[in-house]
């Protein structure tokens, strides 16, 4: 995965980002046993995963589908926060618009599920680009405020327009025919996640990906190297919006109905941000892993709490993981900016046939992207 910047942004004053520039070690080939161990490391978790789901298919496949949706949403946020250095605090708008669009297309326009997903993807991209147009003028922390206010408008106004979302009753979002059971729908979500991961992987490896990362380090320097700042900022927003549209469409059909109350600031925007941070910015593997851990934590932390004698009402027990992840996020920011990526990235390299080596990661949120200046 060549993530070397073609033209390193920053040149002399900014040393190459340790997380970006990583030369592959030469002359190391795993032995046959080494390859076997790597194959086992892929296959065994897969078998365990399938066994885990099959043991209680109804509940567990739905939980894993949630994890896939969270992962896609967090990857969408990662494009903005991780790659481009823009921050979005209004992701409930991104996800919600995708969800309501898909629901509208499927149940009101009577189109197939796939059309719903594609239209949600497009609409998500368009709304993100509109927000991106504002980001061109307003940078950094001030833009974060705009996204925050935009999320609130979506929550309180857009999602309550009766003609679009059926108001409080909620919009119907049927699942695709043949995939109506939870177990089958999990497959749909996993395929969606796999496609997004593939796109994201290729995105980072291309010119556009390098341009976005150059923007994160410093828009001025990037512009001097001939990077189209406006174009690639909007491109990043479009990509992020498209991912979020897909996440929203999958979210909608998982629930079967979507209501305006599903997309609140604390539940979606902050949660996804924290999943992205703890998973590790620019660390796809870490983000997917923490999405899974987040859902599993929501499932098992209440039992654990009961076991050690902490009691709470059943319905509120799901918030253990939220509180716990918030603390984890602060720890991540202070001590380990790469988050779970610190563990997943070396494992990924090991699986591809390199020596196992814990790399020392770079800073989390980009060094140039302080965004402190007035817009």
């Amino acid at each position: 995965m060549a993530r070397t910047l073609e033209r390193p942004a920053g040149g002399a004053p900014v040393p190459p980002h340790p997380a970006v520039v990583r030369l592959p070690e030469r002359g190391f080939r795993p032995t046959a046993a080494g390859w076997a161990a790597r194959a086992a490391a892929v296959v065994v978790p897969l078998i365990v995963g399938v066994w885990y789901v099959e043991a209680n298919a109804q509940v567990r496949s739905d939980a894993l589908a949630t994890a896939a949706v969270i992962a896609i949403g967090a990857l969408s946020l990662n494009v903005l926060v991780g790659y481009t250095g823009q921050i979005s605090l209004g992701h409930q708008a991104f996800i919600g618009i995708g969800a309501f669009t898909s629901a509208y297309i499927i149940s009101e326009s009577h189109q197939p599920f796939l059309v719903g997903v594609l239209v949600a993807l497009l609409v998500g991209a368009v709304q993100a680009v509109v927000l991106g147009l504002i980001a061109l003028r307003v940078r950094g922390l001030y833009f974060a405020l705009v996204t925050l206010a935009w999320g609130k408008v979506a929550e309180q106004c857009l999602f309550r327009l009766k003609s679009l979302t059926r108001g409080g009753a909620g919009a119907q979002a049927p699942r695709p025919s043949g995939f109506t059971t939870d177990r089958a729908y999990l497959l749909v979500c996993l395929v969606g996640l796999a496609l997004i991961l593939l796109v994201d992987w290729r995105l980072v490896a291309t010119k556009a990906g390098r341009a976005m990362q150059a923007l994160r380090e410093s828009p001025q320097v990037a512009a001097n190297y001939g990077v189209d700042v406006k174009g690639y900022t909007l491109y990043a927003f479009a990509v992020s919006g498209a991912y979020a549209g897909v996440a929203g469409a999958l979210f909608a059909s998982r629930r079967l109905t979507v209501q305006s109350g599903d997309f609140d600031f604390a539940g979606i925007a902050l949660t996804y941000l924290i999943v992205t941070v703890v998973g590790g910015l620019r660390r796809r593997g870490g983000i997917v892993a923490f999405s899974l851990l987040y859902v599993l934590g929501g499932e098992y932390l209440p039992d654990l709490a009961r076991a050690i004698g902490v009691h709470t009402i059943e319905v509120n027990a799901g918030y253990y993981i939220q509180a716990f992840s918030a603390v984890l996020a602060i720890f991540t920011l202070i001590f380990q900016p790469d988050g779970l990526g610190t563990i997943t990235a070396p494992i990924g390299r090991w699986l591809r046939g390199e020596r196992f080596q814990l790399a020392h990661g770079g800073g989390a949120l980009g060094r140039g992207g302080g965004g402190d200046a007035r817009p």
């Binding site: 926060v81 250095g85 921050i87 605090l89 504002i134 003028r137 307003v138 950094g140 922390l141 001030y142 974060a144 405020l145 705009v146 925050l148 206010a149 935009w150 609130k152 408008v153 929550e155 309180q156 106004c157 309550r160 327009l161 609140d264 600031f265 604390a266 902050l270 949660t271 941000l273 924290i274 941070v277 709470t312 009402i313 319905v315 509120n316 027990a317 918030y319 253990y320 939220q322 509180a323 992840s325 918030a326 603390v327 996020a329 602060i330 920011l333 202070i334 800073g363 989390a364 949120l365 980009g366 060094r367 992207g369 302080g370 965004g371 402190d372 007035r374 817009p375």
Partner: protein, 297 residues
Amino acid sequence: MGGVLAFEVSRPVVLGVVQGAGVGLMAIGLVLIYKSSRIFNFAAGEFATVGAFGAYLMKSFMPFFFAAILGVLAALVTGLVTERLVIRPLANRPRVTLLVATAAVAIFVIAFQFLAGAQGKLFAAKAIIRGNAFRTFGVFVSWQELVIVVVLAGAGVGLAWFFGATDLGLATLATSQEPTAARLMGIRLNRVAMLTWGLAGALGGVAGVLLPPLTQNFTPAFGTTDLLIPAFTAAVLGGMTSVPGAFVGGLVLGLVQNLAQFNVSSNTLPGAPAVAVLVVLVLVLAVRPTGILGKEA
């Protein structure tokens, strides 16, 4: 007809001024933090919620006035703890990192409230002084509303005096502009940070104690969901570094929200106040990014 028209205008104006005073209190807390450390404090809303819950939980044990003071103290402690555990270790990081960290503080406090079983419930809020003070333009103004306006004015004048006329205020400004030089001049940076965060926590707590009685009750996390965005918009409108600006900005935002609330039917456009706030924010940032009273670029 004339009377109805007067009511249509006067009611949102009076309510707007009062709620705007609460928004202004929070905005002053945001300005205080931004002025002294260039941080956008997304935990500010939860300082208010902590104040509200502190007063709510304590009021059955003592007269409400003392419960309210304990609530403000709880918010003050929250501010201090945030500074010590989250802000200080991250002091030299990019500002975006700190923004995410304060957002993490907010979600922790929110999740904690939900864990304690507060989700989806309404909590009755008690006024410091009950009853109506006077009647103007056909609208009753309660003592509580009067208290809010007076407290905002007091906080605004006090902080303007603090930054403008005291050595400690000057030290705070010096710290934000040049931390190293300030330290060499004998200013203890940690003390200054504790002071500003404690003060910001207390201001948030005061807003959290005083505002909920206007609507009779409050919901968990109301500081973040209802107050934070208007308060930030007010601070930006005022110039982000200006205490009087935040004061004026708060009043403007209160008016804008209430005029939108009263004059736009929720059938044509639900959530009109939220839309109005976004419009104000984008307009300010597009037309006059330094705000109405901002001096520093």
